[in-house]
Subunit: 341 residues, 2 copies
Amino acid sequence: MKPKLTLKHIAKELDVSISTVSKALRDSKEIGEDTRQKIKAFAKLYNYKPNNIALSLKNRKSKTIGIIIPEIVHHFFTTVISGVEKVANELGYNVLVCLSGNSFDKEVLNMEMLANGSTDGFIMSLAKETMQKQDYHHLEEAINQGMPLVLFDRVVDEIACDKVIIDDVIGAKKAVQHLIKIGCKKIALISTVDYVIVGKLRTQGYKKALEENGLSIDEELILKIEEIEDSEKKIGNFLKGKDVDGVFAVNEHFAISAIKALQENGKKVPGDVSVIGFTDGELSKRFIPSLTTVSQHGERMGEEAARMLIEKLERDVEEIENYKTIIVETELVVRNSTKHY
Amino acid sequence: MKPKLTLKHIAKELDVSISTVSKALRDSKEIGEDTRQKIKAFAKLYNYKPNNIALSLKNRKSKTIGIIIPEIVHHFFTTVISGVEKVANELGYNVLVCLSGNSFDKEVLNMEMLANGSTDGFIMSLAKETMQKQDYHHLEEAINQGMPLVLFDRVVDEIACDKVIIDDVIGAKKAVQHLIKIGCKKIALISTVDYVIVGKLRTQGYKKALEENGLSIDEELILKIEEIEDSEKKIGNFLKGKDVDGVFAVNEHFAISAIKALQENGKKVPGDVSVIGFTDGELSKRFIPSLTTVSQHGERMGEEAARMLIEKLERDVEEIENYKTIIVETELVVRNSTKHY
DNA sequence: TTGTAAGCGTTATCAG
DNA sequence: CTGATAACGCTTACAA
C-alpha cells in the first residue's frame, strides 16, 4: 500500500521546494521551462492528484452539493437526483445525498452535518414533518451562514430562496380538463391532506377545471389521504358504489388503487371510468391499462436546481438577493387508462 | 450573513489560546473547570460546530463513504443506498453518491475524483461496460492506496475485496423449483446476456433446478436479452406460439413483458402459465396479477456493505488481508402470477 | 492549568 | 526564476 503522493513528496524527490512544484503543476510562468517539464513529467508518471480536502480547506469551498430528500426509494426523487448529478458532474461538483426519512429532526441533523464544510449549498425537498411543524429555522440558519439553498417540489413560501416547482395547479387542471373533454361529468379527486403542498395545489387545479367548465364541485367526490399505508383500503371504500366516470389521483399509487377498486366493483377502465394519475414512473408505464398521467420531468427539475445552486456558488460577489422560482412544465401523457375520443 | 464560528474566534473573544478552546471543548482535564465551563457555555451559546473539512485534513479521513452505482432511477439500487445510508448515518458517516451510467470511463473518473480525499472507501456495483472490458485497474488502484472497497451485486472474482451478493443460483433454483412444484413442465427462462454476472448465475440456478427434478434443458426455451430497450418486443416474439406453462424471468421488467405477451397470445396468468420474476419492486407488488418474485433484500445488502466497509475503516491496524463475501439470502415471495396448489 | 508550535496538503504573497 | 512563509481550521505534543 503506497500512500498518496503529495506535493511534498515530489518536492523532496526532485529537490525543489513545495511551492515550486505547486506552481509548476498549475503552469505558472514564474517557473522555468525545464523545471516545469521535469516536475510535470514526474507528476504524470506517478499519477499525482491534488488532495481535495486540502483544497477545500484552502479555498473554503468543497465543490460538493448536498441533497436532502425525504426518501430515495421513490421514483420521482431518483429522477431529480439523476438530474442534479448530471449537471453537478459536468460542472465539477460532487453530490452528497442525505435522507430525512420525512423526519424533521433528521432533516435538521443532516443539514447541520453537511453545513460544517462538507457542502457548499443545498438542494432539498422538505420532510413531511417539517411542513407540518412549519419550523424552518434550519433552513434560515443555512441561508444566514451564506449557504445557498434551492428547494424543489416540497417548497414553502416562508423561506426566501431559489425554488424549482412544477405547475401543479395547471398540471392538475390539464388532467381534469382532459377528463372533461372525453366526456366525464362526475370526476372524483383522490388527493393528499392539505399540508402536503402539492396535494393542495393539485386540488386547486381540480376545482378550477371543474369551475371553468361549469361543473359543480362535490365534496363527496373528494378524498384526502393522510397515510400511504392504508390508502388502498381507503380508496376502495371511497369508490365503493360511487357513481363516477372519471378519477384524478395525485400520484401513481392512488391512481392504481383506484383502478383496482373500480375493477373490483365491476367497472371497466377506461370503458366506464377514465383514470388519470400524476408522476410518470414505471408503474404508470407498465401497468395494464397503462396510466394516463401528468408527467413531472424530475430530471429537468434536478438539472435546473443544480444549475441555479451552482450559479449562486460561483459568483462570489455578494449581490443583492435575487431569488428565482423556476416552474418546470408538466406534460399530460395520454395512455390507456383514459377513454380516447 | 455571519461567517462560521471557529476556534480562533472563540479564543479571541474569551481571550484564551486556540488550543485551550480546543481542549476545553473536548473535555480535556488539562483545562481548569472554570475556563472549561466558560468556553463550553460560549460555544453552546453561539452554536459552535467544528469544521469537517479541517478535521478531515487533520485526521486524514473524511468520514464519508462513496457509492458508485450504474444508475439511480432503479428500485433495487435505491434500496441498497437506503440501507447504506442508514448504517452510515448511525455510525457518523456521510454518503457521497456517484453514477457511472454504466460507462467504464465515468466509473473510473468518479472513482478518481472521490479517491483524492473526498471519501474513505467505496461501495460499488460495477458498470456493465466495466464488466465487458474486464478492466478493473481502477479498483486495484484504490485498494493499493489503502482505500477499502466493498462490491455488491455486480461483483467480479478478479478483485480481492469484501463483497455482498445474493444467492443468485439458489434464488433462481428456488423460483424454478416452485414452478415445478405447482406442476409446470415446460419452463422458459428469460435472462440477460452472460457477462451480466447475475444473469449468468440465475441461468445456472434455472438449469440446476430442472436437472435436479429430472426435467431436460431445452435451449429453445431460453432467451438472453442484451438491451433492455427492445426487450418487450424480443420477449413477445420469443413467447409467440411457444408451448410453455411456466416462465422464470431474471427481473421484474422481463416478467411483466412476459405476462403481457402471454396474455396477448390468449393465455391466462396464472391459469395457463405461471410467471416468476426477480427483485421485489413496486411493479411486482402492484401489477395485476401481482408478481411472484424472488426478493433481493437490497436494504439488507446495503446495510451489510456499509457495516463491512466501516469496520475496515475503523480498525487502523493494517491486519492481514481478510476478505469476506456476505451472501444475503433471497426469499421467494409468492403472489398471484403463479398458480396456487 | 494554559499556551506555543508543528503539522495535515495546498496556494498565494512576498523575498531572494 | 525559485523558495520561504503564512494561512485555511483543527489537534496534539511539548513548553512554560
